[in-house]
């Protein structure tokens, strides 16, 4: 066991891992799924099916010729009943394919365990599988695994930090499918020639650390790293620093310091996909929050309406006032329960009014807690002031674009100021000014 490693700053957020010991259950087939054509960072897919088409599980329904993109597959067998743009929680309109399930879950004929002879074919296989970063960001995996040739990659870090409160979907994957995780790592090592592989896990998950350490014991190059439980330990830059001591410069990628980071669920999926050939059509999702009757871990088909997932977990015990996709620190508030589970969904949280009510902002007392908490070493209070004054020069001076939007500043602020929120606004102000 290695000593605990960490980073400077951050916040001691509550853990609330209520579902840690609850085994994942598969929730079954919804009557209808609505699958957005953009569930990743990059170019949205174009639909390759029409209204009225019959599709089967795993069949590609949307694809793109752009490199930074990821195809989308049908998660049920059934009939395409509608193709129309829908308002995404992020605020954009996304073309969405609705499929009415026939309840049979027939697998698409072309699906068989994939074969690959070299790295190029492997990456094409990953692209076709629809895999994107399952930790929440949704960066296409084949792009992540294809760094420019001038970048020498020597290290793979498996992200099992899971530093957001409530979420246990990575933890459950480690407990339930540790063998897949290790297989996935071995496959990647073989093809990508990593010198070292580190699996980073926060020390509030001793069982996960124990299991993977035991399995990694017979591998010289695979090591489990015991990370300090502190938010945002799972943020890529903080994780890389804690594990390797390397600092990713602002605006650069992990590949620039020779590192690729993948989520535990992503590597586990790679092993599973090579066994079955089934693309990314389901997700492990933690369902929790003060308004949820039976907090659970659920395996959900992509495109399932949120309402059905909550209903599967016993429904609401009190009226939900806020629904989140993701954790409470960086998750996205949903405007409707009819929105769909997507590839990046790792948690669905429902809060009642007492927890959802927005705090009232008061004046900054310059206590400096946000400065201490910022893992990027920024001065949030000064950026906040620059945004209020619409002083773009000041925003640049205080490095607003280096903000990773982890939300630590807003979390710790005793005056309940909307600090990280104002940084998002400030970044947009700068972008708009540059566009003029």
């Amino acid at each position: 066991m290695f000593p605990r490693k960490g980073f400077k700053g951050g916040a001691a957020v509550p853990h609330r891992k209520n579902t840690a010991e609850i085994e994942t259950v598969s929730m079954g087939i919804p009557q209808k799924v609505a699958i957005p054509m953009s569930q990743h960072i990059g170019a949205p897919c174009e639909t390759v099916v029409k209204k009225g088409d019959f599709v089967k599980v795993g069949q590609i329904i949307g694809d793109s010729s752009a490199f930074v993109s990821s195809p989308v597959h049908a998660s049920v067998s059934g009939t395409v009943v509608e193709i129309s743009p829908r308002l995404f929680a992020g605020g954009s309109q996304v073309l969405t394919v609705e499929i009415e399930s026939d309840g049979k879950q027939e697998i698409y004929e072309d699906i068989k365990p994939p074969k690959y002879a070299n790295q190029k074919e492997f990456l094409e296989m990953i692209r076709k599988s629809g895999l994107v970063g399952l930790g929440g960001a949704g960066f296409p995996a084949h792009v992540k695994l294809s760094p420019p040739p001038d970048k020498k990659i020597d290290t793979l870090i498996i992200n099992g930090a899971e530093c957001e409160p409530y979420i246990t979907s990575d933890y459950r994957e480690i407990l339930e499918n540790s063998w897949n995780i290790l297989c996935g790592i071995e496959i990647l090592m073989e093809l990508m020639s990593f010198k070292d592989v580190w699996i980073g896990i926060e020390d509030n998950k001793p069982e996960a650390i124990r299991i993977l350490s035991e399995m990694a014991d017979n591998h010289d190059n695979i090591n489990v790293v015991n990370l300090k439980s502190r938010y945002p330990q799972g943020a890529e830059k903080m994780l890389i620093y804690a594990v390797t001591g390397r600092k990713v410069p602002p605006g650069k990628l992990p590949a620039d310091v020779g590192v690729i980071v993948m989520n535990v669920n992503s590597v586990s999926f790679i092993a599973e996909h090579i066994k079955t050939g089934i693309p990314l059509v389901k997700k492990k999702v933690t369902v929790d929050g003060s308004a949820v009757k039976n907090p659970s871990n659920v395996e959900v088909l992509i495109g399932t309406p949120l309402e059905e997932v909550f209903n599967y977990c016993g429904g609401f015990k009190s009226e939900p006032a806020k629904i989140l996709m993701g954790g409470p620190m960086m998750g996205i508030a949903q405007y409707s329960l009819q929105n769909s589970v997507v590839k990046q969904t790792n948690a669905l949280l429902a809060f009642d009014e007492s927890e959802a009510t927005l705090p009232k902002e008061s004046v900054c007392i310059r206590c400096g807690k946000c400065v201490e908490a910022c893992p990027m070493n920024l001065i949030p209070l000064s950026i906040n002031q620059g945004v209020s004054n619409q002083n773009l020069e000041s925003l640049k001076k205080y490095h607003i674009n280096d903000c990773i939007e982890c939300g630590c500043c807003s979390y710790v602020c005793p005056a309940k100021r909307y600090l990280v929120q104002s940084m998002r606004l400030g970044k947009t102000m700068l972008r708009n000014a540059a566009g003029k």
Binding site: K8, A11, V13, P14, K237, Y241, K247, V248, P249, P250, E319, P320, A321, K322, I323, L324, G326, P328, M329, G331, I332, A333, Q334, Y335, S336, L337, F351, A356, T357, L358, S362, V363, I365, R366, C367, G368, K369, V371, P375, M376, N377, L378, I379, L381, S382, K397, Y398, H399, D402, E405, G407, S410, Y411, V412, P414, A415, K416, Y418, V420, Q421
Partner: protein, 319 residues
């Protein structure tokens, strides 16, 4: 579901700290010094404290009302200012002067500059200095602790004016530590101030940079330059005397008037320590803590401007 869902930008979780919980912690941290002051200087001290705090709270209420702004009494910052100011008064101060001090601190120094977080100097210190130049006699009327209070000079004044000629009247180190000496209500007891400081650290209200740099620099300066020859100054005695402890832990760390970065805080502490040493050794004032902190308050925006840190993994900002 009848009501629309709340949609807001993350984070959706906030810590339980509030401005008033922080102010309450500062009041708790000041209570040992308050109790020591009342113990040593009796009912006079209690009256001065009550009047000063009352004046601060009343001024805050009236000033906000006159400016047609929301009442800010609940954030407790006026109480903190009142307590700090009272701890900087001699117990013999006429009560009406204490009241004026409270009003000056809140109305002129704090509210007229925009209220909490906006004042450019520490309200309690500024008010103390205004009173010191307005009524120098009453503001330096010290008494010995205990029931039969007789007038006496502070240890620092003895060092300053009498030097070895009055060696006999200098209290011992133990007396300084406990606070059984002449001085301001809250400055005398080092142990009471340290207890409170420990609480502030424990609750993470303040960080160690400013107080350590302040006390360390002052002690070093006095050790080097404060004696008959170089490196012969009685820095221990100086460190335990006067307002250094109270100033370093409770006044120089005032949020609104000290830098926000770690590096800035160290600069602030060093500046305070140097100025305190210079004033104590080379001017007509026996005590320099208040002036030192006020001067450093004024350069705080400048320190902040030149100590913008580099981002994690990034390049240093240009000022």
């Amino acid at each position: 579901m009848n009501n629309p869902l709340i949609v807001s930008s993350s984070p959706h979780l906030r810590s339980s700290d509030t401005t008033s919980s922080i102010m309450l912690d500062v009041i708790i941290a000041l209570s040992p010094a308050l109790l020591a002051g009342v113990f040593f200087f009796r009912v006079r001290a209690l009256l001065v404290i009550l009047v000063t705090v009352g004046a601060c709270v009343l001024s805050e209420y009236l000033a906000r009302k006159a400016m047609k702004r929301e009442s800010t009494l609940a954030d407790l910052s006026a109480v903190v200012t009142g307590v700090l100011l009272a701890l900087n008064f001699p117990a013999t101060l006429p009560l009406w002067m204490a009241a004026i001090g409270g009003a000056v601190a809140i109305v002129i120094v704090k509210q007229l500059f925009g209220g909490l977080g906006q004042n450019f100097v520490n309200p309690a210190l500024a008010a103390r200095v205004i009173l010191l130049v307005s009524w120098p006699v009453q503001m330096t009327q010290w008494i010995t602790p205990g029931p039969d209070a007789v007038s006496s000079a502070t240890p620092l004044a003895v060092i300053r004016n009498g030097k070895e000629s009055v060696e006999g009247s200098l209290p011992g180190l133990l007396q300084l530590f406990s606070g059984n000496v002449a001085g301001c209500i809250g400055e005398t007891s080092v142990i009471a101030v340290l207890l409170g400081a420990g609480y502030l650290f424990y609750k993470r209200i303040i960080t160690p940079e400013i107080p350590l740099a302040f006390i360390g620099t002052a002690a070093l300066f006095i050790w080097v330059f404060g004696g008959e020859s170089l490196f012969a100054g009685n820095f221990i005695y100086h460190t335990l005397s006067g307002g250094l402890m109270l100033g370093a832990f409770f006044m120089a760390t005032d949020y609104a008037t000290s830098p926000v970065t770690s590096k800035g805080k160290i600069l602030m502490g060093i500046g305070c320590g140097l100025l305190t040493g210079v004033i104590r050794l080379y001017t007509n004032y026996p005590e320099g803590v208040s002036f030192a902190i006020l001067l450093m308050n004024i350069v705080t925006p400048l320190i902040d401007r030149y100590t913008i840190p580099k981002s994690f993994g990034g390049e240093k900002a240009s000022a």
